[in-house]
Amino acid sequence: MKRRWPFTLFRHGVLVGWTAVTLFPVYWMLNTSFKRSEEWVTWPPHWVPQRPTLENYVRVLTPGSTVFELGRQTLKVLKPLGDSLFTATASSLIALALGSALAYSWARFGTGGPSYPYSVLTIRMLPPIVIAVPFVVYYATLHLLDTYTGLILVYVATSLPYVIWMMLAFIEDVPRELESAARVMGASRLRVLSAVVLPLTASGLVVTFLFVFILNWSELLLALTLTNTQVSTIPITLNKFQSVNEGRDYGPQAAIGTIATLPVVVLGFVIQKHLVKGFSFGLLRK
């Protein structure tokens, strides 16, 4: 045990170091969100707000579109928050259902052929920018521009590869014997699914949902191309601050950033214990 000392020190040193790196931007975002405008850019920077305030949160959470002053703009976040929650949740759930069913079908029956999961992965390879312009024409013709359906359809398609890959691992973990036993005892296929497979893969479902939820929640490019006023997600709202050269209302931006992070963090926290198990992508089994 004596020889463990330097190692433990080393370990904690590295981990604390990385914790600091990880938390630094997060802390700064939180910090700024409670500062008044005089404190946003100071030298030396204020690590704790000297006169903390909730006004940034109030500004972004009240209904309306923008507040603009002297080149700085504040955007409102209620509608984008709702829209993001709806599209991300809907698309993730649908992708989860379809993808899991598909993974099960492939794992048990080999439908689609042995390369199917790999070919599905090619969907994910496509940089979205590549199809942005054709998609505008396409969706305009189908009247799907600026609709929830349109965006959800695209998100489902792009989430499927990950759902399939992640769920494959969990499904393959379910012993076939259990299923055959249930079938022998007269259970229908659907019943086997609900009574045997579902409970055993619950962990996987939860983790997969979180992962694709994060992806869809954060997606910017397709949302930017395919929506206007009816649908407005959080990344688009953030993009309205545009780039380095546009509105730098740091306080409200930080408030929006914090608000945008909360749902995901909460979700992640809730399903924490399942997380580690979920990310082996079926390559290693106990």
Partner: protein, 483 residues
């Protein structure tokens, strides 16, 4: 022809020309209201909501004014699509492809008009202009031309964004500073006539109070960042007597004038804060308003920041100057530049183009535009002669500023307003940045830009560009200095 037939003909012709029929009203805004009311009546509507694409820079003012129009006519704002000001082009082009009618009208810059017109997105409004007679005559400096393309009118001008030079009067007036300056340079100090003089002012007034090697008071400020800086170079190039193209659309920017202008542009940067390479309005304005710089050459809305009653520490301490220039063939040529500018356009895919037009005419009338210009939380700048004497405008920006600003407008050429403008500008901007960062010499930067520009011209169609350029040249100022 029988009298009956004649009457019938007249009626038919009259009905056909109804759009061009003169709308009653003493002022442009009155006519707009009347025209709008007539439209609503003709279509049997009591309320109508129009959608608009704009940048957040304009939202507040419009949100205040449009309800007034709505009360008078029933035409109001439905959805406001907001995107960053530099993304309006992308959004407009997406709509040109989608043709979904998601917005009825929009505020765009003059740069995007050729593309918007060619893409079929911008709708010609000549027929409405004929009947409504907007206050185009009152617009200074030939700006109204910028709403026209290939002989047709597409937009109503709404914002005179020509640059102005601001100096710190309190420093200029310090007696010992004046003495020292005059002793060193032999003139002024006062508003500079030439860029060289401005550089001298910048050099003299850059101060390092605590001797740590980093200036605390910067002699000059202008924009040097990506997507913005090139406009300041173009301003100098114009002042050198340069023109971007010759009559065959061959670029002339890599000549002596261009290279010298670029050298001076780069040289002045040493008196500016180091981070200026990443700044635009949201960073530059507060920096100046906090008293950190002696001079700034930028958009006229700087006056709103510099004279802000609460947020400015330099209120009342600013001197608004005519833009400097270069001496060309023995004569001083001052050039401002219409660094951005905003124009109201109507979408071809709108279901209520005429209604949108009346709203636009109302917003660009003498009376309403004066109100828009006054709001400190948007960036509409004075652009009409009537603004000069409007007490509200004067109060928000100081009399000196408005006078100087409108004089600057007399010598303000447009940016390059041709098809593919965004691409020409981007090519120029990218190379200028490389030169600014010291990665390539100025000559090479401009030569490479010439190569890129030639490619763009070929891709758009040289003949078409030649004709468009010929028409554009008419919008250039003829005077060397303002009256």
């Amino acid at each position: 022809m029988t009298r009956l037939a004649l009457l019938a003909t007249m009626l038919i012709v009259g009905a056909g020309a109804a759009g061009a029929a003169e709308v009653p009203g003493k002022t442009a805004d009155e006519r707009a209201v009347n025209g709008a009311r007539a439209y609503m009546k003709a279509h049997g509507l009591t309320t109508l909501k129009l959608n608009m694409l704009t940048s957040p820079f304009h939202t507040k003012a419009l949100e205040r004014e449009i309800p007034i129009f709505e009360k008078a006519t029933g035409i109001g704002l439905g959805n406001l699509i907001e995107v960053g000001i530099l993304q309006i082009q992308a959004k407009a082009m997406a709509e040109a492809v989608a043709r979904s009618g998601s917005f009825d009208f929009w505020v765009g810059d003059p740069i995007s008009l050729p593309d918007a017109a060619e893409a079929g997105l911008a709708r010609p409004i000549d027929e409405f202009v004929a009947g409504g007679r907007p206050d185009v005559d009152d617009v200074v400096g030939g700006f109204a031309e910028q709403g026209r393309y290939k002989g047709k009118t597409y937009g109503l001008f709404a914002d005179g964004d020509n640059f102005i030079l601001v100096l710190r009067k309190d420093w200029l007036d310090k007696p010992d500073e004046r003495q020292k300056f005059r002793a060193k340079y032999g003139w002024g100090p006062a508003c500079p006539d030439t860029y060289e003089q401005w550089a001298q002012l910048a050099e003299f007034f850059t101060r390092d109070f605590n001797n740590d090697g980093v200036p605390d008071f910067y002699g000059a400020m202008a924009y040097r960042s990506r997507s913005w800086g090139w406009r300041w170079w173009l301003q100098r190039f114009y002042a050198k007597g340069g023109m971007p193209f010759d009559d065959d659309m061959k670029p002339l920017i890599a000549g002596k004038e261009g290279v010298e202008a670029l050298r001076d542009y780069i040289a002045l940067t040493k008196y500016m804060p180091k981070d200026i390479l990443g700044w635009a309005t949201p960073q530059a304005y507060p920096f100046y308003a906090a008293g950190n710089a002696f001079s700034i050459m930028t958009y006229p809305s700087i006056a709103l920041a510099a004279e802000h009653p609460e947020k400015s520490t330099v209120r009342g301490k600013n001197k608004y100057c005519l833009v400097p220039g270069y001496v060309v063939n023995g004569k001083l040529v001052r050039r401002s530049i219409q660094g951005f500018g905003n124009i109201f356009y109507v979408s071809s895919y709108s279901g209520h183009a005429e209604a949108a037009y009346w709203l636009m005419q109302w917003l660009t009338s003498k009376e309403v535009s004066a109100r828009l210009v006054t709001y400190t939380d948007s960036v509409f700048d004075p652009f009409m002669k009537s603004h000069l004497t409007d007490p509200r405008v004067i109060r928000s920006r100081t009399k000196e500023m408005v006078e100087t600003h409108l004089r600057n407008a007399q010598v303000s050429p447009p940016l390059i307003l041709l098809q593919g403008a965004v691409e020409y500008d981007d090519a120029l901007d990218e190379k200028i940045q490389e030169a600014l960062l010291g990665r390539i010499p100025p000559e090479e930067a401009l030569q490479r830009t010439v190569v890129a520009w030639e490619k763009i011209t070929e891709q758009v169609g040289r003949q078409a560009q030649i004709e468009a350029w010929k028409a554009l040249k008419r919008a250039y100022p003829k005077k060397n200095v303002p009256d």
